[in-house]
Protein backbone atom coordinates (compact mmCIF):
# COMPACT_ATOMS: atom_id res chain seq x y z
CA UNK A 1 0.00 0.00 0.00
CA UNK A 2 2.75 2.46 0.71
CA UNK A 3 4.70 3.30 -2.38
CA UNK A 4 8.02 1.62 -2.86
CA UNK A 5 9.62 4.63 -4.47
CA UNK A 6 8.24 7.49 -2.45
CA UNK A 7 10.07 10.30 -4.17
CA UNK A 8 7.93 11.39 -7.04
CA UNK A 9 8.41 14.53 -9.07
CA UNK A 10 10.64 15.36 -11.97
CA UNK A 11 14.43 15.40 -12.17
CA UNK A 12 14.50 18.66 -10.24
CA UNK A 13 12.74 17.03 -7.30
CA UNK A 14 15.14 14.12 -7.48
CA UNK A 15 18.17 16.38 -7.47
CA UNK A 16 16.80 18.22 -4.50
CA UNK A 17 16.21 14.90 -2.76
CA UNK A 18 19.78 13.86 -3.44
CA UNK A 19 21.12 17.16 -2.18
CA UNK A 20 19.09 16.75 1.00
CA UNK A 21 20.57 13.30 1.51
CA UNK A 22 24.09 14.59 0.85
CA UNK A 23 23.54 17.36 3.35
CA UNK A 24 22.29 14.88 5.92
CA UNK A 25 25.31 12.62 5.41
CA UNK A 26 27.65 15.60 5.68
CA UNK A 27 26.06 16.71 8.94
CA UNK A 28 26.19 13.17 10.34
CA UNK A 29 29.86 12.78 9.41
CA UNK A 30 31.00 16.22 10.53
CA UNK A 31 28.97 16.65 13.71
CA UNK A 32 30.97 14.22 15.87
CA UNK A 33 34.20 15.90 14.71
CA UNK A 34 32.98 19.39 15.43
CA UNK A 35 31.23 18.77 18.74
CA UNK A 36 33.77 17.07 20.99
CA UNK A 37 31.51 16.53 23.93
CA UNK A 38 31.20 13.16 25.63
CA UNK A 39 27.51 13.50 26.38
CA UNK A 40 26.74 14.54 22.81
CA UNK A 41 28.75 11.62 21.43
CA UNK A 42 27.04 9.27 23.81
CA UNK A 43 23.59 10.46 22.72
CA UNK A 44 24.61 10.23 19.07
CA UNK A 45 25.89 6.67 19.45
CA UNK A 46 22.77 5.52 21.26
CA UNK A 47 20.49 7.28 18.79
CA UNK A 48 22.19 5.69 15.79
CA UNK A 49 22.40 2.29 17.44
CA UNK A 50 18.71 2.26 18.36
CA UNK A 51 17.80 3.67 14.96
CA UNK A 52 19.62 0.77 13.30
CA UNK A 53 18.15 -1.90 15.55
CA UNK A 54 14.67 -0.44 15.27
CA UNK A 55 15.20 -0.52 11.51
CA UNK A 56 16.03 -4.20 11.84
CA UNK A 57 12.84 -4.78 13.88
CA UNK A 58 10.93 -2.92 11.20
CA UNK A 59 11.81 -5.53 8.56
CA UNK A 60 9.74 -8.17 10.36
CA UNK A 61 7.42 -5.93 12.37
CA UNK A 62 6.82 -3.21 9.83
CA UNK A 63 7.12 -4.62 6.34
CA UNK A 64 5.91 -8.14 7.09
CA UNK A 65 3.50 -7.14 9.85
CA UNK A 66 5.05 -9.74 12.16
CA UNK A 67 4.81 -7.54 15.24
CA UNK A 68 7.33 -8.90 17.67
CA UNK A 69 7.60 -7.99 21.32
CA UNK A 70 10.46 -10.44 21.72
CA UNK A 71 13.39 -8.94 19.88
CA UNK A 72 15.28 -8.58 23.15
CA UNK A 73 15.95 -12.31 22.73
CA UNK A 74 17.90 -11.65 19.54
CA UNK A 75 19.55 -8.55 20.96
CA UNK A 76 20.68 -10.50 24.01
CA UNK A 77 21.81 -13.47 21.93
CA UNK A 78 24.01 -11.20 19.83
CA UNK A 79 25.43 -9.44 22.87
CA UNK A 80 26.15 -12.64 24.79
CA UNK A 81 27.49 -14.67 21.86
CA UNK A 82 30.17 -12.20 20.81
CA UNK A 83 31.08 -11.40 24.42
CA UNK A 84 31.31 -15.01 25.59
CA UNK A 85 33.34 -16.02 22.53
CA UNK A 86 35.71 -13.18 23.35
CA UNK A 87 35.91 -13.59 27.13
CA UNK A 88 36.05 -17.39 27.20
CA UNK A 89 37.75 -18.24 23.92
CA UNK A 90 39.54 -15.05 22.96
CA UNK A 91 37.78 -14.77 19.62
CA UNK A 92 37.67 -11.20 18.39
CA UNK A 93 34.15 -9.70 18.62
CA UNK A 94 34.42 -8.70 14.97
CA UNK A 95 34.03 -12.40 14.18
CA UNK A 96 31.95 -13.13 17.26
CA UNK A 97 29.22 -10.76 16.19
CA UNK A 98 28.76 -12.74 13.00
CA UNK A 99 28.42 -15.90 15.07
CA UNK A 100 25.83 -14.08 17.18
CA UNK A 101 23.91 -13.03 14.09
CA UNK A 102 23.96 -16.62 12.82
CA UNK A 103 22.69 -17.97 16.14
CA UNK A 104 19.96 -15.34 16.22
CA UNK A 105 18.97 -16.36 12.70
CA UNK A 106 18.60 -19.97 13.83
CA UNK A 107 16.41 -18.94 16.76
CA UNK A 108 14.39 -16.65 14.50
CA UNK A 109 13.64 -19.59 12.24
CA UNK A 110 12.62 -21.58 15.32
CA UNK A 111 10.36 -18.78 16.56
CA UNK A 112 8.76 -18.47 13.14
CA UNK A 113 8.09 -22.18 13.07
CA UNK A 114 6.47 -22.01 16.52
CA UNK A 115 4.35 -19.01 15.61
CA UNK A 116 3.51 -20.27 12.14
CA UNK A 117 -0.24 -20.19 12.61
CA UNK A 118 -0.54 -17.39 15.10
CA UNK A 119 -1.91 -14.06 14.06
CA UNK A 120 -2.54 -10.68 15.62
CA UNK A 121 -2.36 -10.46 19.39
CA UNK A 122 -1.42 -14.12 19.72
CA UNK A 123 1.70 -13.71 17.67
CA UNK A 124 2.64 -10.70 19.79
CA UNK A 125 2.15 -12.60 23.05
CA UNK A 126 4.04 -15.65 21.78
CA UNK A 127 7.08 -13.53 20.89
CA UNK A 128 6.87 -11.93 24.32
CA UNK A 129 6.88 -15.36 25.96
CA UNK A 130 9.80 -16.41 23.77
CA UNK A 131 11.92 -13.49 24.96
CA UNK A 132 10.96 -14.15 28.57
CA UNK A 133 12.07 -17.76 28.18
CA UNK A 134 15.39 -16.53 26.76
CA UNK A 135 15.80 -14.13 29.68
CA UNK A 136 15.07 -16.72 32.35
CA UNK A 137 17.38 -19.27 30.71
CA UNK A 138 20.20 -16.71 30.46
CA UNK A 139 19.64 -15.72 34.07
CA UNK A 140 19.78 -19.30 35.33
CA UNK A 141 22.47 -20.78 33.10
CA UNK A 142 25.12 -19.42 35.41
CA UNK A 143 27.99 -21.61 34.25
CA UNK A 144 27.74 -20.05 30.82
CA UNK A 145 26.44 -16.52 31.30
CA UNK A 146 27.45 -15.81 34.93
CA UNK A 147 23.76 -15.14 35.60
CA UNK A 148 22.75 -11.97 37.37
CA UNK A 149 26.33 -11.19 38.42
CA UNK A 150 26.81 -10.04 34.88
CA UNK A 151 29.56 -10.54 32.37
CA UNK A 152 32.36 -8.00 32.22
CA UNK A 153 34.62 -7.49 29.25
CA UNK A 154 38.05 -6.30 30.39
CA UNK A 155 38.89 -3.13 28.54
CA UNK A 156 42.00 -3.00 26.42
CA UNK A 157 42.75 -0.32 23.90
CA UNK A 158 42.59 -2.56 20.87
CA UNK A 159 40.64 -1.82 17.69
CA UNK A 160 41.30 -5.41 16.62
CA UNK A 161 39.05 -6.44 19.50
CA UNK A 162 36.36 -3.84 18.82
CA UNK A 163 37.37 -1.63 21.74
CA UNK A 164 38.33 1.99 21.53
CA UNK A 165 39.47 4.49 24.11
CA UNK A 166 37.74 7.38 22.39
CA UNK A 167 34.05 7.66 21.63
CA UNK A 168 34.70 8.88 18.10
CA UNK A 169 35.28 5.46 16.48
CA UNK A 170 32.12 4.16 18.16
CA UNK A 171 30.22 7.10 16.75
CA UNK A 172 31.32 6.34 13.22
CA UNK A 173 30.71 2.63 13.60
CA UNK A 174 27.20 3.35 14.86
CA UNK A 175 26.71 5.66 11.91
CA UNK A 176 27.89 2.95 9.56
CA UNK A 177 25.58 0.41 11.20
CA UNK A 178 22.54 2.68 11.00
CA UNK A 179 23.28 3.85 7.47
CA UNK A 180 23.84 0.27 6.35
CA UNK A 181 20.44 -0.80 7.69
CA UNK A 182 18.76 2.25 6.17
CA UNK A 183 20.31 1.43 2.78
CA UNK A 184 19.31 -2.20 3.14
CA UNK A 185 15.70 -1.26 3.94
CA UNK A 186 15.50 1.07 0.97
CA UNK A 187 16.88 -1.63 -1.28
CA UNK A 188 14.42 -4.08 0.27
CA UNK A 189 11.50 -1.80 -0.50
CA UNK A 190 12.19 -2.05 -4.21
CA UNK A 191 13.04 -5.74 -4.17
CA UNK A 192 10.92 -8.79 -4.73
CA UNK A 193 11.21 -9.87 -1.11
CA UNK A 194 10.12 -6.40 -0.04
CA UNK A 195 6.94 -6.67 -2.09
CA UNK A 196 6.28 -10.18 -0.80
CA UNK A 197 6.73 -9.04 2.79
CA UNK A 198 4.22 -6.24 2.38
CA UNK A 199 1.79 -8.41 0.45
CA UNK A 200 1.91 -10.93 3.32
CA UNK A 201 1.21 -8.17 5.81
CA UNK A 202 -1.71 -6.69 3.94
CA UNK A 203 -3.63 -9.84 3.15
CA UNK A 204 -1.98 -13.11 4.00
CA UNK A 205 -4.58 -15.35 2.38
CA UNK A 206 -4.65 -13.30 -0.80
CA UNK A 207 -0.86 -13.32 -1.00
CA UNK A 208 -0.93 -17.08 -0.59
CA UNK A 209 -3.50 -17.33 -3.37
CA UNK A 210 -1.24 -15.27 -5.61
CA UNK A 211 1.39 -17.95 -5.27
CA UNK A 212 3.53 -16.36 -2.57
CA UNK A 213 4.89 -18.85 -0.08
CA UNK A 214 3.93 -16.62 2.85
CA UNK A 215 5.52 -18.89 5.43
CA UNK A 216 8.90 -18.70 3.75
CA UNK A 217 8.55 -14.96 3.30
CA UNK A 218 7.74 -14.50 6.99
CA UNK A 219 10.67 -16.70 8.02
CA UNK A 220 13.03 -14.80 5.72
CA UNK A 221 11.88 -11.47 7.14
CA UNK A 222 12.24 -12.68 10.71
CA UNK A 223 15.70 -14.15 10.09
CA UNK A 224 17.01 -10.97 8.49
CA UNK A 225 15.47 -8.88 11.24
CA UNK A 226 16.87 -11.07 14.03
CA UNK A 227 20.39 -11.31 12.59
CA UNK A 228 20.67 -7.53 12.26
CA UNK A 229 19.26 -7.06 15.76
CA UNK A 230 21.94 -9.44 17.07
CA UNK A 231 24.66 -7.35 15.38
CA UNK A 232 23.28 -4.37 17.25
CA UNK A 233 23.44 -6.40 20.47
CA UNK A 234 27.13 -7.15 19.90
CA UNK A 235 27.82 -3.48 19.27
CA UNK A 236 25.99 -2.63 22.48
CA UNK A 237 28.13 -5.13 24.41
CA UNK A 238 31.36 -3.72 23.00
CA UNK A 239 30.29 -0.20 23.82
CA UNK A 240 29.26 -0.79 27.42
CA UNK A 241 31.59 -3.74 28.12
CA UNK A 242 29.15 -5.11 30.68
CA UNK A 243 26.21 -7.44 30.19
CA UNK A 244 23.47 -8.66 32.46
CA UNK A 245 20.54 -10.88 31.39
CA UNK A 246 18.06 -8.68 33.22
CA UNK A 247 19.12 -5.83 30.98
CA UNK A 248 20.00 -7.13 27.52
CA UNK A 249 17.13 -9.63 27.47
CA UNK A 250 14.72 -7.17 29.08
CA UNK A 251 11.15 -6.48 28.08
CA UNK A 252 12.14 -2.79 27.92
CA UNK A 253 14.37 -3.51 24.94
CA UNK A 254 11.65 -5.55 23.26
CA UNK A 255 9.34 -2.58 23.69
CA UNK A 256 11.85 0.10 22.77
CA UNK A 257 12.24 -1.13 19.18
CA UNK A 258 8.59 -1.12 18.09
CA UNK A 259 8.06 2.05 20.09
CA UNK A 260 10.68 3.87 18.03
CA UNK A 261 9.11 2.54 14.85
CA UNK A 262 5.60 3.53 15.91
CA UNK A 263 6.68 7.06 16.71
CA UNK A 264 8.59 7.39 13.46
CA UNK A 265 6.33 5.42 11.18
CA UNK A 266 5.97 1.65 11.00
CA UNK A 267 6.86 -0.05 7.74
CA UNK A 268 8.86 2.79 6.25
CA UNK A 269 12.62 2.89 5.81
CA UNK A 270 12.97 6.33 7.34
CA UNK A 271 10.48 5.86 10.18
CA UNK A 272 12.82 4.16 12.68
CA UNK A 273 15.40 6.89 12.13
CA UNK A 274 12.98 9.72 12.74
CA UNK A 275 11.60 7.84 15.73
CA UNK A 276 15.03 7.27 17.23
CA UNK A 277 16.00 10.88 16.56
CA UNK A 278 13.04 11.99 18.66
CA UNK A 279 12.85 9.29 21.32
CA UNK A 280 16.45 8.54 22.24
CA UNK A 281 17.78 12.08 22.78
CA UNK A 282 14.51 13.05 24.48
CA UNK A 283 14.68 10.14 26.90
CA UNK A 284 18.40 10.68 27.57
CA UNK A 285 17.78 14.37 28.26
CA UNK A 286 14.72 13.68 30.39
CA UNK A 287 16.68 11.08 32.31
CA UNK A 288 19.63 13.42 32.83
CA UNK A 289 17.30 16.23 33.81
CA UNK A 290 14.69 14.51 35.98
CA UNK A 291 16.12 11.05 36.56
CA UNK A 292 17.82 11.63 39.89
CA UNK A 293 15.42 14.19 41.31
CA UNK A 294 12.17 12.25 41.31
CA UNK A 295 12.09 8.60 40.44
CA UNK A 296 9.09 7.74 38.35
CA UNK A 297 8.42 11.24 37.07
CA UNK A 298 10.56 10.91 33.99
CA UNK A 299 8.97 7.64 32.89
CA UNK A 300 5.50 8.97 33.64
CA UNK A 301 6.06 11.83 31.22
CA UNK A 302 7.54 9.41 28.73
CA UNK A 303 4.47 7.17 28.97
CA UNK A 304 2.08 10.10 28.55
CA UNK A 305 3.95 11.07 25.40
CA UNK A 306 3.72 7.50 24.16
CA UNK A 307 -0.05 7.25 24.70
CA UNK A 308 -0.62 10.60 23.00
CA UNK A 309 1.53 9.76 19.99
CA UNK A 310 0.05 6.30 19.53
CA UNK A 311 -3.56 7.43 19.80
CA UNK A 312 -3.42 10.65 17.87
CA UNK A 313 -0.65 10.00 15.36
CA UNK A 314 -0.69 6.25 14.67
CA UNK A 315 0.96 6.79 11.28
CA UNK A 316 4.02 8.14 13.03
CA UNK A 317 6.21 11.01 11.93
CA UNK A 318 6.56 9.68 8.42
CA UNK A 319 2.80 9.48 8.23
CA UNK A 320 2.66 7.19 5.28
CA UNK A 321 1.79 3.92 6.95
CA UNK A 322 -1.75 3.14 5.91
CA UNK A 323 -3.64 0.92 8.35
CA UNK A 324 -4.66 -2.58 7.38
CA UNK A 325 -7.76 -2.58 5.28
CA UNK A 326 -9.53 -5.01 7.51
CA UNK A 327 -9.79 -3.40 10.90
CA UNK A 328 -8.22 -5.57 13.52
CA UNK A 329 -10.28 -5.76 16.65
Amino acid sequence: MDAAAPRAGGPAGRTRGRLAWLGLVAVAVLLPLLVRNKFVHDVMILTLLWAGIAGAWNIAGGYAGQISLGHAAFFGLGAYTSSLLYVDLGLTPWAGMLAGALLAAVFAALLSAICLRLRGPFFILATLAFAEVARIVALNWRSLTRGSEGLEIMFQDSPAHFMFKDKLPYTYLALLFAAGILALCRALEGSRLGYWLRATREEEDAAEAMGIDTFRVKVAGMILSAALTALGGSFFAQYFLFLEPGHVFSFEISVQLPLICVVGGVGTALGPFLGALLIVPASELLRAWLGGAASGLYLSLYALLLITVVLFMPEGLVGRFAPRRRPAT
Binding site: P121, F122, F123, I124, F130, G296, S300, L306
Partner: protein, 295 residues
Amino acid sequence: MTLALAQLVLSGILIGGVYALIAVGLTLIFGVMKIVNFAHGEFLMAAMYATYWLQALLGWDPYVSVALVLPASFLFGLAVERLVIRPSIGKPHLVVVFATMGLSVLMQNLALFLWRGDYRPVRGALGETTWVLGPLRMNGALVVACAVSVGVTLLVLAWLRYTDFGKGLRATVQDRDVAMLMGIDVARVFSVTFAVGTALVGLAGALITPAYPTYPTVGLSFVLVAYVIVVLGGLGSIMGALLGGICIGVVESLTGYLIATSLNQLFSFLVFLAVLVFRPAGLLGQRPATLAGAS
Protein backbone atom coordinates in the same frame (compact mmCIF):
# COMPACT_ATOMS: atom_id res chain seq x y z
CA MET B 1 6.78 -37.37 50.89
CA THR B 2 3.13 -37.89 49.95
CA LEU B 3 2.20 -35.44 52.65
CA ALA B 4 4.62 -32.83 51.36
CA LEU B 5 3.30 -33.40 47.88
CA ALA B 6 -0.30 -33.03 49.01
CA GLN B 7 0.62 -29.82 50.81
CA LEU B 8 2.29 -28.50 47.65
CA VAL B 9 -0.73 -29.34 45.53
CA LEU B 10 -3.07 -27.68 48.02
CA SER B 11 -0.95 -24.51 48.17
CA GLY B 12 -0.85 -24.56 44.40
CA ILE B 13 -4.63 -24.78 44.20
CA LEU B 14 -5.02 -21.83 46.55
CA ILE B 15 -2.53 -19.68 44.67
CA GLY B 16 -4.13 -20.84 41.44
CA GLY B 17 -7.48 -19.62 42.74
CA VAL B 18 -5.96 -16.17 43.24
CA TYR B 19 -4.52 -16.29 39.74
CA ALA B 20 -7.90 -17.32 38.38
CA LEU B 21 -9.60 -14.38 40.07
CA ILE B 22 -7.21 -12.04 38.25
CA ALA B 23 -7.56 -14.02 35.04
CA VAL B 24 -11.38 -13.97 34.94
CA GLY B 25 -11.35 -10.21 34.37
CA LEU B 26 -8.72 -10.65 31.70
CA THR B 27 -10.78 -13.39 30.08
CA LEU B 28 -13.50 -10.82 29.46
CA ILE B 29 -11.09 -8.19 28.17
CA PHE B 30 -8.62 -10.30 26.22
CA GLY B 31 -10.34 -13.63 25.80
CA VAL B 32 -13.75 -12.30 24.78
CA MET B 33 -13.04 -8.82 23.42
CA LYS B 34 -9.54 -9.64 22.06
CA ILE B 35 -8.05 -6.50 23.55
CA VAL B 36 -4.44 -6.97 24.58
CA ASN B 37 -4.53 -4.94 27.75
CA PHE B 38 -1.02 -4.59 29.10
CA ALA B 39 -2.27 -2.42 31.94
CA HIS B 40 -4.33 -5.22 33.51
CA GLY B 41 -1.66 -5.79 36.17
CA GLU B 42 -1.61 -2.08 36.98
CA PHE B 43 -5.38 -2.12 37.51
CA LEU B 44 -4.65 -4.77 40.13
CA MET B 45 -1.91 -2.62 41.61
CA ALA B 46 -4.20 0.44 41.78
CA ALA B 47 -6.86 -1.55 43.62
CA MET B 48 -4.25 -2.84 46.05
CA TYR B 49 -3.05 0.71 46.78
CA ALA B 50 -6.64 1.86 47.23
CA THR B 51 -7.17 -0.92 49.76
CA TYR B 52 -3.91 -0.05 51.47
CA TRP B 53 -4.78 3.64 51.81
CA LEU B 54 -8.31 2.92 53.01
CA GLN B 55 -6.71 0.95 55.81
CA ALA B 56 -3.83 3.34 56.49
CA LEU B 57 -6.02 6.47 56.58
CA LEU B 58 -9.44 5.24 57.68
CA GLY B 59 -8.58 1.93 59.27
CA TRP B 60 -10.88 -0.06 56.98
CA ASP B 61 -10.52 -3.78 56.75
CA PRO B 62 -9.73 -4.94 53.21
CA TYR B 63 -12.88 -7.07 53.20
CA VAL B 64 -14.89 -3.92 53.91
CA SER B 65 -12.95 -1.88 51.36
CA VAL B 66 -14.11 -4.25 48.65
CA ALA B 67 -17.48 -2.49 48.76
CA LEU B 68 -15.79 0.71 47.65
CA VAL B 69 -12.94 -0.64 45.52
CA LEU B 70 -15.19 -2.75 43.32
CA PRO B 71 -17.45 0.07 42.05
CA ALA B 72 -14.48 2.45 41.86
CA SER B 73 -12.67 -0.04 39.64
CA PHE B 74 -15.77 -0.30 37.47
CA LEU B 75 -15.83 3.47 36.96
CA PHE B 76 -12.10 3.51 36.34
CA GLY B 77 -12.58 0.83 33.69
CA LEU B 78 -15.29 2.90 32.00
CA ALA B 79 -12.95 5.88 31.88
CA VAL B 80 -10.02 3.89 30.52
CA GLU B 81 -12.21 2.32 27.88
CA ARG B 82 -13.48 5.72 26.78
CA LEU B 83 -10.08 7.46 26.78
CA VAL B 84 -7.64 4.76 25.69
CA ILE B 85 -9.34 1.66 24.31
CA ARG B 86 -12.11 3.08 22.15
CA PRO B 87 -9.88 5.43 20.13
CA SER B 88 -7.62 2.51 19.25
CA ILE B 89 -10.29 0.08 18.04
CA GLY B 90 -10.15 -0.57 14.33
CA LYS B 91 -6.52 0.54 14.13
CA PRO B 92 -3.50 -1.78 13.76
CA HIS B 93 -2.82 -4.07 16.73
CA LEU B 94 0.24 -2.07 17.68
CA VAL B 95 -1.92 0.90 18.62
CA VAL B 96 -3.87 -0.78 21.39
CA VAL B 97 -0.77 -2.66 22.52
CA PHE B 98 1.22 0.53 22.90
CA ALA B 99 -1.63 2.59 24.27
CA THR B 100 -2.23 0.10 27.09
CA MET B 101 1.48 -0.41 27.57
CA GLY B 102 1.88 3.33 27.92
CA LEU B 103 -0.92 3.30 30.48
CA SER B 104 0.86 0.52 32.35
CA VAL B 105 4.17 2.40 32.45
CA LEU B 106 2.35 5.59 33.44
CA MET B 107 0.49 3.96 36.35
CA GLN B 108 3.57 2.12 37.60
CA ASN B 109 5.70 5.23 37.60
CA LEU B 110 3.03 7.47 39.05
CA ALA B 111 2.76 5.01 41.91
CA LEU B 112 6.52 5.00 42.25
CA PHE B 113 6.63 8.79 42.18
CA LEU B 114 3.78 9.28 44.65
CA TRP B 115 4.36 6.44 47.08
CA ARG B 116 7.96 5.26 46.54
CA GLY B 117 8.88 1.64 45.97
CA ASP B 118 8.29 0.39 49.54
CA TYR B 119 6.41 -2.84 50.14
CA ARG B 120 3.21 -2.01 51.97
CA PRO B 121 1.45 -4.73 53.92
CA VAL B 122 -2.27 -4.74 54.66
CA ARG B 123 -3.77 -6.55 57.65
CA GLY B 124 -6.99 -8.38 56.96
CA ALA B 125 -9.55 -9.50 59.52
CA LEU B 126 -8.07 -12.98 59.20
CA GLY B 127 -4.55 -11.72 59.84
CA GLU B 128 -2.05 -14.52 59.61
CA THR B 129 -4.70 -17.13 60.32
CA THR B 130 -3.86 -20.58 59.12
CA TRP B 131 -6.61 -23.11 58.74
CA VAL B 132 -5.81 -26.72 59.27
CA LEU B 133 -7.27 -29.49 57.21
CA GLY B 134 -6.09 -32.77 58.67
CA PRO B 135 -2.32 -32.60 58.41
CA LEU B 136 -2.48 -29.83 55.80
CA ARG B 137 -2.27 -26.09 56.38
CA MET B 138 -3.98 -23.31 54.46
CA ASN B 139 -3.45 -19.57 54.51
CA GLY B 140 -6.82 -18.07 55.48
CA ALA B 141 -6.60 -15.05 53.17
CA LEU B 142 -5.84 -17.29 50.22
CA VAL B 143 -8.77 -19.57 51.04
CA VAL B 144 -11.11 -16.57 51.02
CA ALA B 145 -9.70 -15.31 47.72
CA CYS B 146 -9.98 -18.78 46.23
CA ALA B 147 -13.58 -19.20 47.35
CA VAL B 148 -14.52 -15.78 45.96
CA SER B 149 -12.78 -16.76 42.77
CA VAL B 150 -15.00 -19.79 42.34
CA GLY B 151 -18.11 -17.79 43.20
CA VAL B 152 -17.24 -14.98 40.79
CA THR B 153 -16.52 -17.46 38.03
CA LEU B 154 -19.99 -18.93 38.38
CA LEU B 155 -21.60 -15.49 38.52
CA VAL B 156 -19.85 -14.28 35.40
CA LEU B 157 -20.71 -17.50 33.65
CA ALA B 158 -24.40 -17.04 34.50
CA TRP B 159 -24.22 -13.38 33.50
CA LEU B 160 -22.87 -14.26 30.07
CA ARG B 161 -25.23 -17.15 29.55
CA TYR B 162 -28.58 -16.02 30.88
CA THR B 163 -28.82 -12.24 30.68
CA ASP B 164 -29.69 -10.21 27.59
CA PHE B 165 -26.45 -8.32 28.01
CA GLY B 166 -24.50 -11.57 27.99
CA LYS B 167 -26.24 -12.66 24.82
CA GLY B 168 -25.50 -9.29 23.24
CA LEU B 169 -21.87 -9.60 24.23
CA ARG B 170 -21.54 -13.07 22.74
CA ALA B 171 -23.23 -11.87 19.56
CA THR B 172 -20.90 -8.87 19.37
CA VAL B 173 -17.88 -11.11 19.70
CA GLN B 174 -19.09 -13.44 16.98
CA ASP B 175 -19.81 -10.69 14.50
CA ARG B 176 -19.72 -7.03 15.38
CA ASP B 177 -21.42 -5.77 12.28
CA VAL B 178 -24.31 -8.19 12.37
CA ALA B 179 -24.76 -7.56 16.09
CA MET B 180 -24.97 -3.87 15.38
CA LEU B 181 -27.55 -4.50 12.66
CA MET B 182 -29.58 -6.51 15.13
CA GLY B 183 -29.85 -3.43 17.29
CA ILE B 184 -27.16 -4.18 19.84
CA ASP B 185 -25.37 -1.11 21.11
CA VAL B 186 -21.90 -2.44 20.38
CA ALA B 187 -20.05 0.50 21.88
CA ARG B 188 -21.96 0.10 25.15
CA VAL B 189 -21.32 -3.64 25.19
CA PHE B 190 -17.61 -2.99 24.83
CA SER B 191 -17.38 -0.35 27.50
CA VAL B 192 -19.47 -2.27 30.05
CA THR B 193 -17.56 -5.50 29.43
CA PHE B 194 -14.24 -3.73 29.79
CA ALA B 195 -15.43 -2.06 32.98
CA VAL B 196 -16.66 -5.36 34.42
CA GLY B 197 -13.28 -6.93 33.62
CA THR B 198 -11.61 -4.04 35.42
CA ALA B 199 -13.99 -4.32 38.37
CA LEU B 200 -13.15 -8.02 38.70
CA VAL B 201 -9.42 -7.36 38.77
CA GLY B 202 -10.12 -4.60 41.30
CA LEU B 203 -11.93 -7.14 43.45
CA ALA B 204 -8.93 -9.44 43.13
CA GLY B 205 -6.63 -6.60 44.16
CA ALA B 206 -8.57 -5.83 47.32
CA LEU B 207 -8.83 -9.51 48.29
CA ILE B 208 -5.17 -10.40 47.87
CA THR B 209 -3.77 -7.49 49.91
CA PRO B 210 -3.75 -9.50 53.14
CA ALA B 211 -1.60 -12.15 51.42
CA TYR B 212 0.63 -10.09 49.13
CA PRO B 213 2.36 -6.76 49.84
CA THR B 214 1.58 -3.75 47.66
CA TYR B 215 4.28 -2.05 45.59
CA PRO B 216 4.34 -0.21 42.24
CA THR B 217 5.31 -3.18 40.05
CA VAL B 218 3.24 -5.82 41.83
CA GLY B 219 1.01 -6.12 38.76
CA LEU B 220 3.82 -7.43 36.58
CA SER B 221 4.21 -10.58 38.59
CA PHE B 222 0.56 -11.45 38.07
CA VAL B 223 -0.28 -10.18 34.62
CA LEU B 224 1.91 -12.50 32.58
CA VAL B 225 0.57 -15.48 34.46
CA ALA B 226 -2.94 -14.19 33.83
CA TYR B 227 -2.30 -14.17 30.08
CA VAL B 228 -0.96 -17.71 30.25
CA ILE B 229 -4.11 -18.76 32.07
CA VAL B 230 -6.49 -17.10 29.62
CA VAL B 231 -4.86 -18.85 26.68
CA LEU B 232 -4.50 -22.13 28.54
CA GLY B 233 -8.11 -22.09 29.63
CA GLY B 234 -9.34 -21.45 26.12
CA LEU B 235 -9.96 -17.90 25.05
CA GLY B 236 -13.10 -16.47 26.42
CA SER B 237 -13.90 -19.56 28.42
CA ILE B 238 -14.71 -18.40 31.95
CA MET B 239 -14.63 -21.91 33.37
CA GLY B 240 -11.37 -22.46 31.51
CA ALA B 241 -9.83 -19.50 33.30
CA LEU B 242 -10.65 -21.03 36.67
CA LEU B 243 -9.29 -24.44 35.74
CA GLY B 244 -6.29 -22.91 33.95
CA GLY B 245 -5.52 -20.79 36.98
CA ILE B 246 -5.56 -23.77 39.28
CA CYS B 247 -3.42 -25.80 36.86
CA ILE B 248 -0.81 -23.06 36.65
CA GLY B 249 -0.85 -22.59 40.42
CA VAL B 250 -0.21 -26.29 41.01
CA VAL B 251 2.45 -26.48 38.30
CA GLU B 252 4.27 -23.46 39.73
CA SER B 253 4.08 -24.79 43.23
CA LEU B 254 5.48 -28.17 42.17
CA THR B 255 8.26 -26.86 39.91
CA GLY B 256 9.18 -24.29 42.52
CA TYR B 257 9.70 -27.06 45.06
CA LEU B 258 10.97 -29.94 42.93
CA ILE B 259 13.18 -28.02 40.50
CA ALA B 260 13.93 -24.43 41.43
CA THR B 261 11.87 -21.41 42.42
CA SER B 262 13.59 -19.28 39.81
CA LEU B 263 12.39 -21.62 37.11
CA ASN B 264 8.67 -21.70 37.87
CA GLN B 265 8.00 -18.73 35.62
CA LEU B 266 9.95 -20.40 32.85
CA PHE B 267 7.56 -23.28 33.10
CA SER B 268 4.54 -21.01 32.75
CA PHE B 269 5.91 -19.50 29.57
CA LEU B 270 6.76 -22.87 28.10
CA VAL B 271 3.23 -24.05 28.88
CA PHE B 272 1.93 -20.92 27.20
CA LEU B 273 3.95 -21.48 24.02
CA ALA B 274 3.09 -25.16 23.98
CA VAL B 275 -0.63 -24.44 24.28
CA LEU B 276 -0.48 -21.89 21.48
CA VAL B 277 1.36 -24.32 19.26
CA PHE B 278 -0.25 -27.64 20.05
CA ARG B 279 -3.65 -26.89 21.47
CA PRO B 280 -4.65 -23.40 20.42
CA ALA B 281 -8.22 -23.97 21.59
CA GLY B 282 -6.98 -24.26 25.16
CA LEU B 283 -8.46 -26.60 27.75
CA LEU B 284 -12.09 -25.67 27.30
CA GLY B 285 -12.22 -23.27 24.38
CA GLN B 286 -14.14 -23.97 21.25
CA ARG B 287 -12.36 -21.60 18.93
CA PRO B 288 -8.64 -21.95 18.40
CA ALA B 289 -6.52 -18.91 19.20
CA THR B 290 -5.18 -18.98 15.69
CA LEU B 291 -8.61 -18.43 14.21
CA ALA B 292 -9.64 -15.92 16.80
CA GLY B 293 -6.67 -13.75 15.99
CA ALA B 294 -7.35 -13.76 12.28
CA SER B 295 -10.32 -11.44 12.31
